[in-house]
Symmetry: C3
Subunit: 203 residues, 3 copies
């Protein structure tokens, strides 16, 4: 298992936990918590695979992801209250997940011979659609439409990754730089409440 | 047409009726009623096929399913009030649908050479996603997240089916036992208001 | 680029604008506006392609669609208020989109060797699912379930197109007649508030 795989599993785990926490807030039953955790963690990658035609989708043939989801959900249930203390760590992991899932989506697009611009979109979609599904299933307007910059950082990450891919930089360094960029910008975005520039008047 | 096909059509019909009744409660127009009935009846199987890459999805090449949906919706509209008298029969049919759709999903997974655990999930997904879509489209939090045990019975059914598949038991007997198990447990679950064990504290 | 392509782009643009306007009403951030515009414009065609197995889906290999969406969203943001004056023109374009998307969906179904009845459904699904997604993502009950006749006109359009396909009529004339039929009926439907006949009692 490479460092990249490890980060991938961390991203999956954190997304699963965010889904499980949302489900517990809504008082779903335990089984519902597991479903929402799964959908949040593997929904984005599933949509990506389905749109490309990369089927059976990734978790059907690599079901270690499901184990990660299962364990993460159990942890979320057991340590529900304590997780509040780790809010900052969790947030950091979520930012890592955003960065990693973006890169994975992008790479899978390239492998399918798609145009780099499409690959950028695939990266963003992989990274953010799970959260959208989580919000729809808890009957809320998806956070992504309102929150401080989030999916746009994923686009920036994918573009950066692609730009660095054109250089002679070793791929592992590229992974590192891209993820770090997304993570740092995400931290700054939340700290300073960055918003996507208002391009239209709301009145 | 085998007994299994017959049960499959009954399951489709009952799911369609449940979608149509939900739509009429929400005062959808007649066309909307037909759409919601279709989505409830064939949504689960469609998602299953799309995730596996089993395309065009089943109802495109076996459109007798659409006829079943159409006729069921017409029946639901005509006998809307009388269906209240048949609530118990309907509920029984729905439980049959749950059992049958689980087995179908499981078998399709096996045929696609997927791991038995994935097949179990495919069975559950086939059986329960139509209802989730019905609830999302009527703008409600999916019942499956709150209701007394439902999707978990589907998992149990799929596991049982797989276990019996390892024996020399004729497949038809296996169908019967698995479906009967799901149906009986579902009846007990509703009668005694079984809930999935609370694995986390809600406070 | 043929006249048909042009109409296709007009349909895409109008659907994108309708998504962008809905997002701005909900005060989504600018990025959210772009996402909702995209989903509304290309969601129906994406579902169609995924259900058939026509992957990667159309906009991944023909990304001029994304440019159309992008430009349309920018226009919607810039001229948000002025668009109110063009409500009638917009509505006309939307009706054209309905007609065109229906025909495209139908033709793609035929090309995939599907039964004409399935092709009719594919046409309707291509034309109306984008709007359903738009409504779900803005957390509303899909308009299609309530509005004066809309999706049913798409079905009528697809049936007409298929009927005329059996004649010796040149295909371009067929395009014209079918689209015009859908547009005219849609105008009449809104003007005279046609509703789909009530086939069930609401009490």
């Amino acid at each position: 298992m490479t460092v990249f795989d490890l980060l991938d599993f961390i991203g999956t785990a954190v997304f699963a936990i965010s889904g499980a926490l949302a489900a517990m807030r809504q008082k779903f039953d335990s089984f519902g918590v597991l479903i929402l955790a799964s959908v949040t963690a593997i929904g984005g990658g599933s949509l990506r695979d389905v749109l490309i035609g990369n089927t059976p989708v990734f978790w059907m043939t690599h079901w270690e992801y499901l184990i990660v989801v299962f364990v993460s959900t159990a942890i979320a249930m057991l340590f529900r209250k304590r997780l509040a203390y780790f809010r900052k760590t969790m947030f950091l992991f979520d930012a890592i997940g955003l960065g990693i899932f973006t890169i994975i989506g992008f790479k899978i697009g390239l492998k399918a011979d798609l145009h780099p611009i499409i690959c950028v979109l695939l990266g963003t979609l992989s990274a953010s659609f799970g959260g959208v599904l989580r919000d729809i299933l808890s009957n809320e307007v998806p956070l992504i439409f309102h929150k401080e910059v989030y999916a746009s950082l994923s686009i920036l990450g994918a573009v950066t990754f692609y730009a660095l891919l054109q250089t002679t930089l070793p791929i592992n360094i590229n992974y590192l730089i891209t993820s770090a960029l997304v993570v740092v910008l995400r931290i700054l975005a939340v700290k300073y409440e960055w918003e996507f520039p208002k391009l239209y008047k709301t009145t």
